[in-house]
Symmetry: C2
Subunit: 309 residues, 2 copies
């Protein structure tokens, strides 16, 4: 006598059993199922073997459930309901959804995108817990390893395993003190090269895009100061004659009273949202992606955001 394994049983068997129970007849159950009677008989035979009980016995015109059958029928119905629910398309309600989402990005995105994003999410989906980690230079790795759900980055990650969506463009500008000699004139290439610069040097040795602008090739900038991040740099360099080259949106946010000037080169770049296969089909993540996109759209037309209030 071989030991019975639940694996061989299917939900169809359970459904059949339930129908026999409800109809009190194999024939009726067969019609209901669109099968013919021997098929139902065969299925019942399997279940009898599995459960070691006749389950139904002939009685009048039809069959009557045994004591065991009565006993297990609630459990069977529970299993059937469970399976139907499993097949329900994932439903996601922002207001009630509880889940964790991890985003990887760097200083720029933390400064430019994240504040608005956090505002928006905690308003629309208060039970989503967000975690932000630093990308440094390995954002794509983090994403591929599942260490984060999303990556916000201007770097082009052209792995085909990754999905991406452009969010907005930005470009580098120069930020100088209003009392700087260059403050009243256009900055030419020679002015720029001659000036003293503040350079933000990132972990992992990443170099800002503007350094690869064709106009600057073959030159050596006069770096007077290096800082590891833009945070709090204003007070650090107040009154100095340093030139800081940084993305325009960042300049607007943290430039304070300093003057924004056109640099002697053009270096546009695009900020992208990246995600991977693991979250691609998830309704929750789909919604979250839309929120990021919407937040970025509002950056370009801020008044739009208030309408939704």
């Amino acid at each position: 006598m071989e030991k019975f394994d639940y694996s061989t049983l299917s939900f169809k068997s359970l459904k059949t059993l339930k129908l026999i129970y409800e109809q009190g007849s194999l024939t009726a159950a067969a019609i209901e199922l669109g099968q013919n009677q021997p098929t139902v008989s065969y299925t019942l035979e399997q279940m009898r073997e599995a459960l070691q009980d006749p389950l139904f016995v002939r009685s009048g015109r039809g069959v009557a459930p045994t004591s065991r059958c009565h006993q297990i029928m609630p459990e069977i119905e529970k299993l059937i309901r469970g399976m139907s629910e499993l097949l329900q398309p994932e439903n996601f309600e922002p207001v009630s959804a509880r889940l964790d989402i991890t985003l990887s990005c760097n200083q720029y995105e933390l400064q430019v995108i994240v504040p608005n994003l956090v505002q928006r999410i905690s308003r629309l989906a208060p039970h989503i817990r967000m975690t932000f980690i630093q990308s440094h230079v390995s954002g794509h790795q983090q994403l591929q390893r599942g260490q984060c759900d999303f990556l916000l980055s201007p770097v082009i990650h052209d792995y085909e395993a990754l999905y991406q969506r452009a969010l907005f463009q930005d470009r580098y500008v120069c930020l100088i003190s209003t009392v700087h000699p260059l403050a009243r004139q256009q900055i030419g290439r020679d002015d720029y090269i001659a000036a003293k610069h503040l350079e933000i040097h990132y972990e992992g040795g990443w170099k800002p895009f503007y350094l690869s602008a064709p106009e600057l090739q073959g030159t050596n900038l006069n770096i007077a100061l290096r800082l590891p991040s833009v945070s709090n740099f204003l007070s650090t360099i107040a009154g100095t004659e340093l030139v800081i080259t940084l993305p325009e949106r960042l300049a607007h946010q943290i430039g304070g009273a300093m003057q924004i000037k056109e640099p002697p080169f053009s270096s546009r770049f695009e900020l992208c949202l990246y995600w991977n296969k693991m979250t691609h089909h998830s309704k929750a993540h789909q919604w979250f992606r839309e929120q990021i996109i919407e937040v970025c759209r509002e950056l370009d037309s801020p008044e739009q955001g208030l309408r939704g209030k």
Copy 2:
């Protein structure tokens, strides 16, 4: 795009999914299942179709679950557990079991068996609720229709659809007042026929067995009084000269001070327990049948019963 029906899915699919999840690899899952890798791949493909999600994506050496997969895995585990429990052999613990059992019988059994049975069951299985109904003459019908779980009856029900078990034998005796003229002598056939009788007439026109004793054929008993039941008959007939013919065990129980005399015929009969296919395999009912048998055994040797206390 056809709508998906849970019926096509089996528990094996769920088990496979769970194993892939645990192992992070189709190959490993296949080995665990004793199948080969394309089989697992095929099963996964089915589930992907059903759940409309990749469930697992290639990642490093193996696969990583998607967000949806993480989400549904607890539910899948619940379903697997539910199914395993369903296949567990029915377990029955008298002390904790809650169930209803209906027994059909008549006055005789209510008087002779039921008191001890109720005592025993409420001691061993306090949560079994017993219901007693009257058999009248249709006990076998009640049983076949599932109106009761057990029938206690001396009548031979030789339907092959019914199971039966002999419990004990009994025979008819005469009960007379101690001051009756016959009280000091053996009752002969002529004495019996000449005497005035109390007859219990049952519903449905059922006639007691002793009336079909060969010794009484062709005779007419002198019936002086008919009662519909033996209950309380003692006070009714106190001091009269009536002869009452009734089963010995009943006579002992309700005869009070009256005298038990050998009748001028022999009429043994057997009391049986009957049940049907519906309850035959049920552990609870099996146990209950044993209790009935035990109670009846103790009727013949009452001191045995006390030892168990």
